[in-house]
Symmetry: C2
Subunit: 383 residues, 2 copies
């Protein structure tokens, strides 16, 4: 029986994680649920899964949550500080970090410091502070298990490979809803269009990042830290069917790939059950339907975010933090129709040029870099 | 340093194994080389790799081999009995069984009884006597490592998976040179046509087996024993590019696949270096060249060998032994233009119907079954 904390339980990953847990009640017990602001769904989940504790990040919702759970034997807390604290609870084995964006960083650090296994669904944590998090995990002997389908694929391919040298990681990308679209289309693209992902059903932020290929750039940075490879060992390959979730090429030339239907419940479950695999009735790949799996190079000229992310990965320091903060602001502005689709890359690039570069940032440097980058990006958009 | 015996060193697998060993002189030392009759090549190999012992199966060639190696400090033997004996030599760590056909059975049994690791390139061994060999390997704690590219792929995918339940094995098949050909073409097909394999460069017997899909039937039976799965858990999927060498689907729905260029040196090296991987300069898969990997169901009506092999696998006993013996005779007759391409399946099917079925055959039963099946098949062809 594994005791699980789910941070961000009302989001896309969080709700699917609860489906996985509901399917295996003999294997998992929910200890903690946290959410940003969706208090009613959080209360429903708490009543169903009976965790020891729930936390709502938005402190104004505390009263409402407390009232909804008044008949339950569940401790109720509020605020980001409380989220960072509860992950340290002794009874927790594994912390699934499924909140969106930069807010995942501090609770992840707390979980690592407490030596918990972290099932990392919050990619911004490694994008923003990969070097720091990696060192911390080694120091505290905390295991970080990837949840992203691409990194889960690579992790599955690396099982049993010991120290066998990796030649390269091949991160597959669906190409998103705008694959093959021309510049004019991209300039006029609306949030509604960008939110139509061809294969994956995900939250809004990551769906926009997917359309702009920033998501793949983030994943490259994440992979660099998770698997300790050099930036030039990471290749992005567009694979529109999203059946091959990623591949590893070893030094002997052999490639291992992980395949499956595009369904996040599979990598979520693998992270929770690792190193075991538990039976599921999730849909299987039918090669009568998928009679061809195709590949193409990503179009970096039309999707410059991939090049920006690669530059941030290569130069390192606080630049990935700037990249992430500017992107969060740009995506938010795009979703509110205050910035064009192509304008997002422009804002991110200019922000990367304006914020002071720090080669080996501390956690505090990340916090100030994040603030500075958001301020600069907002000025670029709204002034 | 691993000490290697190569049985069948002058064949396709044997010569490629020596290329692998030549590329890693610090990792492998050749202890024994054996060949069927190609005495000059065997002598050249012996002079280059300086094994302790060489054996020529054809006893009439003993004098010639002895003369060719008169200036070398290498022991020279002849005969199948000698081959079966030398594999037991104490200094040998791993025995690569790369001879063609049924002749691989006895030396493999001797190697297993001596507790050697067996790198199994002779698929007939498991086809003919899979139950017996599997029990023997467990009893003598001998490790059997697959060399066939498909089984190596599955073995690579199973690394690190412990007891995670396998849902099915997906054996990929190129479909051979006659994929998509109609009945009239197949009836008139010549040995020269059948020997033109689109992707793999292999020996004549296995290339014909590949054209008739018997090779894939054998591989299914081999997989059944190597990976301890039920016949119905093995699926054959035609994949004309031969880039995905096979796949494993686990009980959670996740599929792992191994990919690479069609080059036997990769699986040969993996078997020799396992669990390590050694760097190679073998050609890499270029997804700019392989922009689509395609799949189709095998055409069992036009290639009935696949159905015959599946029946032999399902019914078990001495039937796979009959299948193999009848096929060896049929392929030999086809290569000498004494039997048509489609006639091969007819002969095999009739032989399977005529030879007495034995549910749990002993090694002696296999020997007599093999003789009986060959006699019946020859009568069907030549009378």
């Amino acid at each position: 029986m594994k005791h699980v904390a789910i941070l961000g339980s009302t989001g896309s990953i969080g709700t699917q994680a609860l489906q996985v847990i509901a399917a295996h009640p003999d294997r998992f017990r929910v200890e903690v649920l946290t959410a940003h602001h969706r208090v009613e769904l959080l209360a429903q989940q708490a009543i169903r899964f009976q965790p020891n504790m729930v936390v709502i990040a938005d402190e104004e919702k505390y009263g409402e949550l407390k009232a909804l759970l008044r008949d339950e034997d569940i401790k109720v807390y509020a605020g980001n500080e409380a989220i960072a604290q509860v992950v340290e609870t002794e009874s927790i084995d594994i912390v699934l970090t499924a909140m969106v964006g930069y807010s995942g960083l501090l609770p992840t650090i707390h979980a690592i410091r407490a030596g918990k296994t972290v099932a990392l669904a919050n990619k911004e944590t490694l994008v923003v502070a990969g070097a720091l998090i990696s060192h911390l995990a080694v120091h505290h002997r905390a295991v970080i298990l990837p949840v992203d389908s691409e990194h889960s694929a690579i992790f599955q391919c690396l099982a049993g490979e010991g120290n066998n040298p990796i030649e390269k990681l091949i991160l597959t990308a669906s190409g998103g809803p705008f694959r093959g679209k021309d510049r004019a289309f991209l300039q006029a693209a609306t949030p509604a269009q960008a939110l139509q992902h061809p294969n994956w059903n995900m939250g809004a932020k990551v769906t926009i990042d997917s359309a702009s290929l920033m998501n793949k750039g983030f994943e490259a940075i994440e992979a660099r830290w998770l698997f300790d490879v050099a930036p030039e060992q990471i290749e992005v390959l567009v694979h529109p069917q999203s059946i091959i979730h990623s591949m590893v090429q070893f030094a002997d030339g052999s490639i291992k790939a992980q395949l499956g239907m595009p369904d996040m419940r599979l990598p979520i479950q693998y992270a929770l059950s690792y190193p075991e695999r538990l039976p599921t009735d999730l849909p299987r790949v039918d090669f009568d339907t998928y009679r061809a799996l195709s590949f193409e190079k990503p179009d970096v000229a039309r999707f410059p975010n991939l090049a920006l992310a690669r530059e941030a990965m290569r130069r390192g320091g606080n630049l990935p933090c700037v990249l992430n903060a500017a992107n969060e602001v740009a995506v938010e502005a795009f979703l509110h129709e205050r910035l064009s689709f192509t304008g997002m890359s422009r804002v991110i690039e200019q922000t990367m040029n304006k914020v002071t570069y720090i080669a080996t940032p501390s956690l505090e440097d990340h916090v100030t870099t994040d603030e500075a980058a958001r301020r600069v990006a907002r000025e670029l958009i709204f002034n």
